[in-house]
Each structure stands twice: as C-alpha cells, then as structure tokens.
C-alpha cells in the first residue's frame, strides 16, 4: 500500500514537472501550437489510470498530457510529439492536443469538446458485441456537458448498457467562462443521473479518493452493470492555454484552490504518516529531473518527418 501511495505521488509529480518543462520549452519556442496544461488536476489523471486494466481504453481531451503519461505513454515519445518529431507518439502529426498510443489503449486527445465521447460508445458497443471485458473511459471537462454529443452519448451508453465510464474533470471553467454562467443546473452528477446511470461527485484533488471511486465504478462496469458517471471536482492552477491572460477569475480563488494542491497534500500526508521523508522526495525529484532531461534530449535529437511523406496516413497504405 505504501509503495502504491509513493507511486501515485511520483506519477503526479512527474506530470507536474513535465508540464512545467513544457512551459519553459514553449517560451523558448521549442514547442508551438496550443499548450493546455493540467497543472492542479494531476490527481484525476493519476487516480483514474491507476484503477484501469492494461486492456482498457481511454479517449481524452486536448488537455491530456497527464492522461497520456499516467496511462503509460513513454515520456520520451510524448516529449518528441511536443517537438513535432517522427519519434513522437503521433509521429508529430498530432501535437499536444492529439496524443495517441493505442498500444497502451490511449485513443487520442480530441480537441473538439465532447467529440471523443461518441467514440467510446462505439468502442464499448464493439466490446459488448464481441464479449470483451474491457472498460472504455471517456475523459472530458465540465464544458462538455453543454454539448449535444455528451447527452447523445450518455443516452446511448445507458440504453445499450455499455461498458463506458464517463469521467468528468470539473475544473469549473469552460475556457474562460464559469460553469455557473453557462449551465442552468450546475450539479453535474444530478444531471448525469437523469440518464439512468449511477453518478457521483468525488474530490478530484485527492488522488486516493479518485482511484477508489474509479475502481468501484470500473469493477461494476466490467461486471456488466452498465455505464457510470463520476464528476471529479478539480481546478486548473494555470491559464487555459499559453494565450490566455486569465482575466475571468479572481487570483484569490486560484490561491484558495492551490491550498488544496493534490501533490503537496499527498506529500504532507505521507510525511505525517511516515510513508515518505523529505530525502525520498528529493530523490524522486532528482529522478524525474533526469527523466525529463533525457526526454528533451531524445526529442531534440528526433527526426523531422521528410516533407515527401506529408500526405501519408490520410488513407490506409495498401501494400502493392
């Protein structure tokens, strides 16, 4: 158990440091495009992924660095993707918003809000038709609840009793607009329950609570009991993207949420419980630092895909 808690801590810290490194690299113009950071939301990524089996599948959003790393996409290939290199997990064709690695069941970052949800319905339907005991996880934000695709997908999953977990990362803002400004009913779990599936709200700043809730849901889904919805209450500490001046929320609100930082919170608890000491934390930090240096080195040394290959992967290459 203690090993597992240390693992959860390390995973969250690794995501945090990865994204902080990405900010530096973005400022240095090594990384371009959009960069949506999940700093503050790491407990959801790590807790959810800790509860899944290797064969399970995940369809994620454009804020998915944490999901990808926690799911087991090699950090080198994620960093190379940020660099747009061929060694990237999507060969440099996807970038920050479209990390794919089907070998670990990551079916993409999707940059259309709620756009990945119908895909999980289809994957779940395929599993039901073929009798595979796989759980398909749709990760999405609170903004997705305003989209038709969310409601269509919820209905289909419940109607067809599909093995789908709807995992909502409620960080309270759809880009720069607060939930309360855009939703008549802000109790998201209550709305989800209207589709006839169990729905609950969980503290998304507590990695242990996230994992436990996910595990309960996943066990039930795998047992054939149909889809479930979990709302994880969380918060992004940084702006929506590198372009966002963050004018729409009070700095006091951000500071209040930072008091609940999932990484600091777990560290404090583990130190209090004697599970970890400062020396071990420093060692973990140093390990991650080395891992990141290696990933950056790998990405820097990566290959730019030849322009002659530009139109590959538009259609399937049929061997001649």
């Amino acid at each position: 158990m203690n090993d597992h808690l240390r693992h959860l801590y390390r995973e969250m810290l690794r995501i945090r440091r990865f994204e902080e490194r990405c900010v530096e690299l973005y400022s240095a113009t090594k990384i371009r495009g959009f960069l949506h950071l999940c700093i503050g939301e790491e407990a959801v990524a790590v807790g959810v992924m800790a509860a899944l089996d290797p064969d399970d599948r995940v369809a994620s959003t454009y804020r998915e660095h944490g999901h990808a790393l926690a799911r087991g996409v090699p950090i080198r290939s994620v960093m190379a993707e940020m660099y747009g290199k061929m060694e990237g997990c999507s060969r440099g064709r996807g970038g920050s918003m479209h990390l794919f690695d089907t070998s670990v069941g990551l079916y993409g970052g999707n940059a259309i809000v709620a756009g990945g949800l119908p895909l999980t319905i289809g994957m779940g339907l395929a599993d039901r038709l073929t009798g595979r005991p796989i759980v398909n996880v749709a990760l999405f934000g609170d903004g997705a609840l305003a989209e038709g695709e969310f409601h269509e997908s919820m209905n289909l999953a419940a109607l067809w009793n599909l093995p789908v977990l709807f995992a909502c990362e409620n960080n309270r803002y759809a880009m720069g607009t607060a939930l309360s400004k855009t939703h008549a009913e802000t109790d998201l779990a209550a709305r989800a329950a209207g589709y006839g599936m169990p729905a609950e709200t969980v503290d998304g700043m507590d990695v242990v609570a996230v994992e436990e809730a996910t595990r309960r849901a996943v066990d039930s889904i795998r047992a054939g009991e149909g889809p479930r919805f979990i709302e994880f209450l969380t918060y992004r500490f940084r702006a929506h993207s590198m372009y966002d001046p963050d004018r729409y929320r009070e700095s006091t609100e951000v500071e209040e949420w930072k008091e609940r930082d999932p990484i600091a919170r777990l560290a404090e608890q583990l130190i209090d419980d004697g599970v970890i000491d400062q020396e071990s934390i420093d060692a973990i930090e140093a390990e991650i630092e080395r891992e990141l240096d290696d990933a950056v080195e790998f990405a820097e040394a990566g290959t730019l895909e030849p322009v002659e290959d530009l139109t590959r992967f538009v259609l399937t290459e049929v061997p001649t």
Binding site: S90, D101, T102, N110, G122, V314, L315
Partner: protein
C-alpha cells in the same frame, strides 16, 4: 501491456467472400434472389444481407433501420433475419451514433451506419470530419476507421428545402474519406461490398429517386472497383459527366441528342472522392467537349472541381468552354413546378450540350 484489438487490413476479412457469390436468379427456398432484374432497393438489401452473412464484424445501425424496416425500406426484413444486435435501431442522435460507428470501426468492427438522409448528416458533420477523416492522420497511422456511412440524397420528391439537399460534393472536399454514389442496381449491389472491404471511411450516397428503379444485377460487379468512373453510353461528340440521381436524366438527354445527330458520351463518375481523372480526361480527349451535370448547387460544387481539373489537364483538347448544369442557387422549394425548375433536367442538359457544340 497487451496490444489493443486492431482493425484488420482490407485484405484479411475474418470470413471473407469466397468469390463464388450466389447466382440463383429465382428463389428456390423463399430466399430473395441476389442476381437478375431487381430494384435498386432490393440490390442494396442483397448487398447488406451478404455483408451481414459473410462477416461477423458487420452490423447495421441507424434510425428506423430495424422494426420500421428502414425509412426507404432498404433494410426491410433484416431485423428478423439478423436480430437487434446487428440491425440496431438508434435514437435520433446522428452525431452520437455516427461517432459510435467510428469508435466501433476503430477497434475491429465493420459498421454500416445509415443516416436517414443527407440532410441529417449535418448533425453528424463533427464526427465525420473531425474524427472519421482525421483519426488516422492525427494518430500518425495508428488508427484505421473502416466504416461505411450510407445516406439518401437528392431532391425531386417535393420534400422542400430541408429534405432535398445534395451535399455529396461537400463531403468530397474532405481528405481522409471516400465518397461514392452508386447510380445503378448493379452498383448498389456491389459497391457496398467493396466499400466494406475498404480500410478507410466510405460515404455512400443513394439518390432517393433510384430505389424503385429496376436494373440487371450480375453475379460479379459490372464495374470492379469503387474508384473507377464508368462510360454508360459511348459517344463521339461531347462528354456528359454526371453521377447518381442525374445519370438517368443524362442518358435520356443523350437519346434526344442522338435524334438530333449529336452523339453524346455519358460518364457515370461513381466516385466523387477520389475522382477518376483518367477516364474523364480520356473521354474529353476524344470528344473535345464536356458538360457536367450535378444536382448540387453550382458555386463551389463538385462540378466546379471537375471543370477545373479538365482545364488543368485537358485544356488543349477542348473545342468549347466546359458547360455545367447544376441546381439553381435557391433552397429547394416545395411547389412541384418550382422544384422542377430548380433541378437539372433533360431540357437543360440538351441546351447546355447545344451551347457546347456551337460555342
């Protein structure tokens, strides 16, 4: 970690066709004939039945495809034959069930998704364009989406502005998908099968006026391959280039022109993406004149694309400007005479050919 189930390459169907399709013309045991003279609807149904019989990965999903038998009765009887798991009625959630088809295709199934009409496909555009067409590329080749999306298209039945669109030309704009439009019973019978064998998303457009039209269906495809255009009527004087619902109109126009001493060649594109440039250019190279007939609106249409390609690739073969007969730039009206005035007609085609003959 264990590898995820992946889609099969096009060449390895789990229970592939044997190459010896049933050639029984008359049902001996009550089973419907799969060759011989039949309607376009029956031919499409025969194709669906064959696909469902031959490949466990195939299922049909859409609004009213089951108990109702399909809005245009294409899938009538298939629910009884294959059951509700494989003939799957959906709610009115075009984006949801088209996306579900894409998701199922991503992990090894061969879904056939029916969108009742092209008009409702607009509600599923996000899934078609942002997912089906892009997933392979965005993922650097990790994902294939072997889905077939069927839908009825076209006007001519006094269904007014929201039920008369011809948007296949729009879809043909999108890299990452294929767009086909079978115009004959034989193509209805065989192009679905070829679309299912294709590893990429195929959108299949069925013009609503075709379902009751009878034609000969052979034991093998008259025209093999979904990407090839067909010369439906050879001619020396002018190339009339069309597809789908206006093929019959063009053939009728060609008959009338023959009486007037003009020998028109009629090309059925069959595929709008990719376009069979070789067949088009070879024809124009012989006739030196081209008229394109397209039920879509003229501006930014597939006819505009074809015209551009002819000027790019066969400009010096032309003896006259490329002519076009398209729908008038108006939402399709209800009143019968106004609708008729909106759409391509034999008269309009004959007039356009005369203009091409005497520029």
């Amino acid at each position: 970690m264990t590898a995820q189930p992946t889609t099969q390459p096009a060449t390895t169907r789990t229970t592939g066709h044997t190459g010896t399709p049933d050639t029984t013309k008359i049902a001996v045991d009550g089973a419907p004939a799969s060759t011989g003279t039949m309607t376009y609807r029956e031919a499409m149904r025969a194709a669906l039945r064959e696909a469902l019989t031959d490949d466990d990965r195939v299922f049909l999903m859409g609004e009213d495809v089951g108990s109702y038998g399909g809005c245009f009765a294409v899938s009538l009887g298939l629910l009884e034959e294959f059951g509700p798991d494989r003939i799957r009625d959906t709610p009115l959630s075009e984006s949801g069930f088209v996306g579900a088809g894409i998701g199922a295709a991503m992990v090894g199934m061969r879904p056939i998704v029916e969108i009742m009409t092209v008009n409702f496909s607009l509600l599923a555009l996000d899934q078609i364009m942002n997912n089906a067409a892009t997933l392979q590329h965005m993922s650097g080749g990790q994902i294939q989406v072997p889905i077939v999306i069927r839908m009825t298209t076209g006007a001519g039945r006094q269904l007014a502005a929201q039920h008369s669109h011809s948007l296949e030309g729009w879809f043909a704009h999108i890299p990452g998908i294929k767009v086909i439009a079978p115009a004959t019973a034989d193509d209805a019978r065989w192009m679905l099968r070829e679309a299912l064998a294709d590893p990429d998303p195929v959108l299949l457009f069925e013009h609503g006026s075709l379902y009751n039209v009878k034609g000969e269906v052979g034991a093998t495809p008259e025209i093999p391959g979904i990407e090839r255009a067909a010369i439906r009527r050879p001619g020396r004087d002018v190339s009339i280039i069309t597809y789908g619902g206006t093929l019959r109109t063009c053939l009728d126009a060609a008959d009338l022109l023959a009486d007037q001493g003009i020998d028109a060649e009629v090309i059925d594109l069959r595929s709008l993406r990719p376009l069979d440039d070789a067949t088009i250019m070879a024809s124009v190279g012989r006739t030196h004149r081209a008229v394109i007939v397209d039920e879509g609106w003229r501006s930014g249409s597939i006819s505009a694309e074809i015209s551009a390609r002819i000027t790019e690739q066969a400009f010096y073969a032309l003896d006259a400007p490329v002519g076009r007969v398209c729908s008038e730039e108006v939402p399709v009206p209800y009143a019968q005479h106004l609708e008729a005035a909106t759409l391509p007609s034999v008269d309009k085609i004959v007039k356009a050919v005369h203009e091409a003959m005497e520029p």
